[in-house]
């Protein structure tokens, strides 16, 4: 059993083996990074090979009969088991494909910024991807929980990567909130589910029907369980549990990309959708009359987060709040509980992934090339970094939901679902938030392309820790005259070493080429998704089919 080579299992093994190899080849950076890319490619191939099976017309019939892939019996009666279904497939595909691009980008970023502990970074990254694969293919709640926690653990070193007091504090917040919510609420919910139903497998329609029918479980208890799950999945960043996301901004940009686009937050909303669909079952929730609070909670999160984003000067922080609001789109869609809205949720997971990763790549490129972290410093930067800022524009459009980008498709489905279910509140929220999105993204684009760059002497530099500064104290920002030349010189040396030319403040061009390539690719995919979204829509349709009796 342990060495079964069926594709879902292989999808977990490949990054694990990759991590091992990367750890072993840490001394030879080129080999190490080649291995990273190779592993990522292999993984994508493996994951893609599963797709046809999921798209097969008789998929649900097979799903109902096929036994799960059981790895090990952890506690008597509780297995670590895998099972493929469309939602997980979407998630796995996104993660696998973005890993390649992210690796490419990481190579540029890590070398460009001469970061320490690069091997640890790549190893943890691969381990995080392995956890994501496990999460995507989880066959029951227990497995979901196991990989959820593994993901938290493996991303922790990435968040704390820099090892400064600031980074450690943020990483503590990250770990504290994620572990706290998952252990206190999610685990309690899972065990309660097990106690009430004796069953933790994911089934279309949920597992509670029998318990509800027999009366051993009442609707209010079901509602309580639902609350436990929704707040237990802290990675979905539903409003009071969102603090970790801005805190985690301290991490290097590829990590932010991983957190926001590839793995962590996606794992959160993915789990939310999965739990709603396969553990509770939309019909059960509707008939028990539970869960509608989630719509309002998510709606509030969307608006509040967008509003906060308006006032963030730090670029990554602004993106982080944008992520929080975008995640709640997925949650609100799932909470609508209609088949169409669940499709919207699935599509938005994908659409947001591509858009957001583009934005983060762009932010990272700007930092690498110019060490700028604040929105207010970006005047005229579009002229020096046309590719980067071009891609940024595409990502921003996708966030706002304008065609021809991926964001439009998912927003369209969401609005249709809201229309269908006649939730005016949702429609209002979507429209308002679109305006707010526009409100905080468009000024950046405006500054980048239509404002003149400042004269070189007034250039505003951040150093290592600058973008972590508290937003409340913008005046504390160091300026070039603040006596940090020592630091600056170090950086210059490092850069000159990498770039082969002297880094002159204010005279930067594009970031290193791997980064540019990566971010162009993601931007391209964001656009392509608008035109060629068949695969995603097919998978979402497959998911929807499973819900219909």
């Amino acid at each position: 059993m342990m060495f079964d080579l069926s594709p879902p299992l292989l999808a977990i093994y490949i990054p694990l083996i990759g991590a091992l190899l990367i750890a072993l080849t840490g001394r030879w950076p080129n080999l190490r990074e080649a291995l990273t890319l190779g592993t990522a490619g292999t993984l994508l191939y493996t994951v893609a090979s599963i797709v046809p099976r999921v798209l097969a017309p008789n998929f649900w019939a097979v799903y109902a009969k096929a036994p799960p892939l059981r790895l090990v019996e952890v506690v008597p009666g509780v297995f670590l088991e895998l099972k493929v279904e469309p939602l997980g497939m979407v998630f796995a595909l996104i993660a696998a494909s973005l890993w390649i691009l992210n690796s490419l980008y990481s190579i540029g970023y890590m070398r460009g910024n001469a970061e320490k502990h690069q091997t640890r970074f790549y190893v943890c990254f691969a381990l995080a991807i392995a956890s994501v694969m496990g999460l995507a293919f989880a066959g029951n709640l227990f497995t979901l929980f196991v990989f959820y926690e593994m993901l938290t653990l493996t991303t922790y070193p990435l968040v704390a990567h820099k090892g400064t007091a600031e980074a450690l504090r943020s990483a503590r917040t990250y770990l504290g909130i994620l572990v706290g919510t998952s252990v206190c609420f999610l685990l309690a919910g899972i065990i309660a589910t097990y106690v009430y139903t004796g069953d933790m497998a994911f089934k279309p329609g949920g597992v509670f029907t029998r318990a509800l029918a027999s009366g051993s479980l009442t609707a209010p208890v079901l509602g309580t369980l639902f609350i436990l799950y929704m707040y237990g999945i802290g990675k979905a960043a539903l409003m009071p549990m969102h603090r970790w996301l801005p805190a985690a901004m301290v991490a290097p940009t590829p990590v932010s990309a991983l957190l926001h686009a590839v793995a962590v937050v996606k794992a959160g909303v993915f789990s939310v959708v999965k739990v709603i669909v396969y553990t509770f079952g939309p019909l059960t929730l509707i008939s028990a009359g539970q869960g509608s609070w989630l719509i309002f909670m998510a709606g509030a999160t969307i608006l509040i987060a967008s509003f906060i984003a308006l006032f963030q000067d730090n670029l990554k922080r602004r993106l982080a709040y944008s992520t929080i609001s975008q995640l709640s789109y997925v949650i609100i869609a799932a909470a609508l509980l209609s088949p169409l809205s669940l499709m919207a949720a699935t599509l938005h997971i994908a659409a947001h992934a591509f858009g957001k990763i583009t934005l983060f790549f762009a932010a990272g490129s700007i930092y690498t090339a110019s060490h700028k972290t604040e929105v207010s410093q970006l005047d005229g930067i579009g002229r020096r970094m046309p590719f980067t800022m071009g891609a940024f524009t595409i990502g921003a459009l996708s966030m706002i939901g304008l065609p021809p980008t991926a964001g439009f498709i998912s927003k369209w489905y969401l609005l249709s679902a809201a229309w269908e279910t006649e939730y005016v509140f949702v429609i209002v929220v979507v429209i308002l938030s679109t305006l707010l999105n526009a409100g905080y993204f468009l000024p950046i684009i405006y500054r980048a392309f239509f404002r003149a760059p400042p004269p070189p002497g007034r250039e505003h530099h951040g150093d290592h820790g600058a973008f972590e500064e508290d937003p409340e104290h913008p005046l504390d920002h160091p300026t070039a005259t603040d006596g940090v030349f020592g630091d600056e010189a170090d950086h210059s040396e490092a850069h000159s070493h990498v770039h082969g030319k002297l880094h002159v403040p204010g005279a930067h061009g594009e970031a290193p080429w791997p980064m540019v390539v990566a971010l162009c690719c993601t931007a391209a995919v964001t656009v392509a998704f608008f035109f060629y979204s068949d695969l995603a829509i097919d998978l979402a349709t497959q998911l929807r089919k499973g819900l219909l009796p």
């Binding site: 770990l175 504290g176 309690a188 065990i191 309660a192």
Partner: protein
């Protein structure tokens, strides 16, 4: 008279396995005493290792025998006196399991002890040290197999007395070891006296010392359970046992004792001593008084659960504030005892099974973590949070062991700690109106995250104060450490064995059928 010609037949015959229960206790006794004649250097250690290894082997044999036996238990009458007259050994699934834990941990810790003892204890008393060490094991093992209440008391005193001496051997490193030992001695003796008195009350009212007989007598004579004597006996035993297993408000002896004891002793104690105390509580509450009296007539659930809850939370917060890592782990141990007690105070199958499983899991994790600290002390001569900074690169294997053990304490899935929490939370939810206790269990995990993570952070993400090169711990420390930690991970991934045996033991204790 002695006919030596019979001896070979006996050793070869299949019958020797019948003597397993007594061999497990007497082998460390006899060979422990012989240790004082083994001389100097590595010899006492090798001797002790061989003895503990044998005991571990015998414990394995015994558990197989117990599980294979149709009655689910093995009985042995000392001196061939029927149990009413003499002393009886009675081993069921629970005993055998605890016995295996104690014997296994004892073996591994003995292997580990070599370097640590060489460094921390003057060379001219190694033979005495290992003699007392083996006698401590003998006492702990004896408590676990015996079916006679007074025998429990005597063996308890052996284990206590040896442990006092072992703790005091930390005096050369820090004088606090002496006060720790004396404080433990006084509290421990008071606790043991309460136990002795409780046994006396029970004997007076039932006229027997055998656990099984006592139980039958308490069940069969009408009115006996309502008598004030039995009530006070129960209270006395409860207080005495709580002291011995360091349940929260009576845990005062533990943190200092674990902090200042020699590293190897800390590891042994953390993994076995309090666990055996818990085992005694099982025996007295379930086997002698019976579930009905202990948990329905008496408000035991309320008392124990509140003590456990307070213990988990208060010691968790206290542990967070510690800088000395040994003290940190010691406070954590008190909290973990809280989990174990919380489990069996629920008196349902899942709760008790969680309790039994946590005895093993905690023994493995805490033992492994104390071993890691011992290795750090061995290399750095200190083990505060400042000294481990940057140690993740200098002593990668040691720190990794510590980290994995810490994850277990937190109860991350796929570590052993998770399994016990799984059962415990189920137990809390199974019992009506007890669900807030599930919250306590989970909240305790969060506190564990905090105190574990302070160390992990310091080890991996902070820069050391100086660039002194530090070598990785010697192999004889690493292997036992990783055996413990590895076992905890193994039992976290595949808890079928522990799960099954805990549930069997829990069902037997609760008398709800096999």
């Amino acid at each position: 008279m002695l006919d030596l010609r019979q001896v070979p037949d006996l050793l070869q015959g299949p019958g020797w396995q019948a003597h397993l229960p007594v061999l497990i206790v007497t082998i460390p006794l006899i060979f422990g005493v012989l240790t004082i004649a083994t001389g100097k250097g590595w010899k006492p250690w090798a001797w002790a290792t061989a003895v503990t290894g044998t005991v571990f082997y015998l414990a394995l044999q015994l558990i197989q025998r117990v599980l294979a036996s149709p009655t689910g238990m093995v009985s042995y009458e000392l001196g061939n006196w029927p149990r009413q007259w003499g002393i009886e050994y009675r081993v069921d699934a629970l005993n055998a399991f605890i016995l295996l834990i104690v014997a296994g941990v004892g073996f591994v810790t003995t292997v580990y002890a070599k370097h640590s003892v060489e460094k921390e204890i003057p060379a001219d008393r190694h033979n005495f040290f290992y003699a007392v060490w083996l006698l401590a094991l003998c006492g702990l093992l004896g408590i676990t197999v015996t079916g006679d209440t007074f025998n429990v008391y005597v063996l308890l005193e052996i284990s206590s007395l040896t442990v006092y001496a072992l703790i005091a051997m930390g005096k050369d490193r820090h004088r606090g070891a002496l006060t720790a030992s004396l404080r433990y001695l006084i509290l421990g003796s008071v606790g043991a006296s309460f136990i002795l008195l409780g046994i006396g009350y029970l004997m007076m009212i039932t006229g027997t010392l055998n656990m099984q007989d006592m139980h039958e007598r308490l069940m069969s004579v009408p009115g006996i359970l309502e008598s004030r004597t039995v009530l006070v006996a129960f209270a006395l035993l409860l207080v005495g046992l709580s002291m011995k297993m360091a349940l929260f408000p009576l845990h005062m002896w533990l943190p200092r004792a674990y902090t200042y004891a020699p590293s190897a002793v800390s590891a042994l104690l953390a993994a076995t001593a309090t666990k055996v105390g818990v085992y005694m509580a099982f025996r007295f509450m379930f086997t002698i008084f019976g579930v009905g009296f202990s948990f329905i007539t008496m408000p035991t659930t309320l008392i124990l659960a509140s003590c456990a809850t307070a213990g988990i939370l208060v010691t968790g917060v206290t542990a967070i504030r510690q800088t000395n890592l040994k003290r940190l782990l010691a406070y954590s141990s008190v909290g973990q005892i809280g989990y174990i007690v919380l489990g069996f105070s629920l008196a349902n199958v899942n709760g008790v099974a969680g309790s039994v499983a946590h005895i093993l899991n905690h023994a493995l994790m805490k033992g492994g973590m104390f071993m890691a600290l011992g290795a750090i002390v061995y290399r750095l001569d200190r083990c505060d949070i400042r000294s481990v900074r940057g140690l993740g690169r200098k002593m990668p294997l040691t720190m990794a062991a510590f980290t994995v053990g810490g994850l277990g304490l937190v109860g991350f899935p796929l570590t052993a700690g998770f399994i016990s929490k799984w059962y415990l939370v189920q137990g809390c939810l199974d019992r009506p109106h007890m669900w807030p206790l599930a919250g306590v269990v989970l909240l305790g995990s969060l506190l564990a995250v905090v105190y574990t993570w302070r160390v992990v952070e310091a080890a991996y993400f902070q820069e050391p104060d100086d660039d002194r090169p530090v070598k990785e711990a010697p192999l004889l420390m690493l292997i036992p450490m990783w055996v413990m930690i590895g076992a905890s991970v193994f039992f976290g991934i595949n808890a079928t064995f522990t799960g099954k045996i805990s549930v069997t033991a829990a069902k037997a204790l609760l008398g709800v059928g096999p």
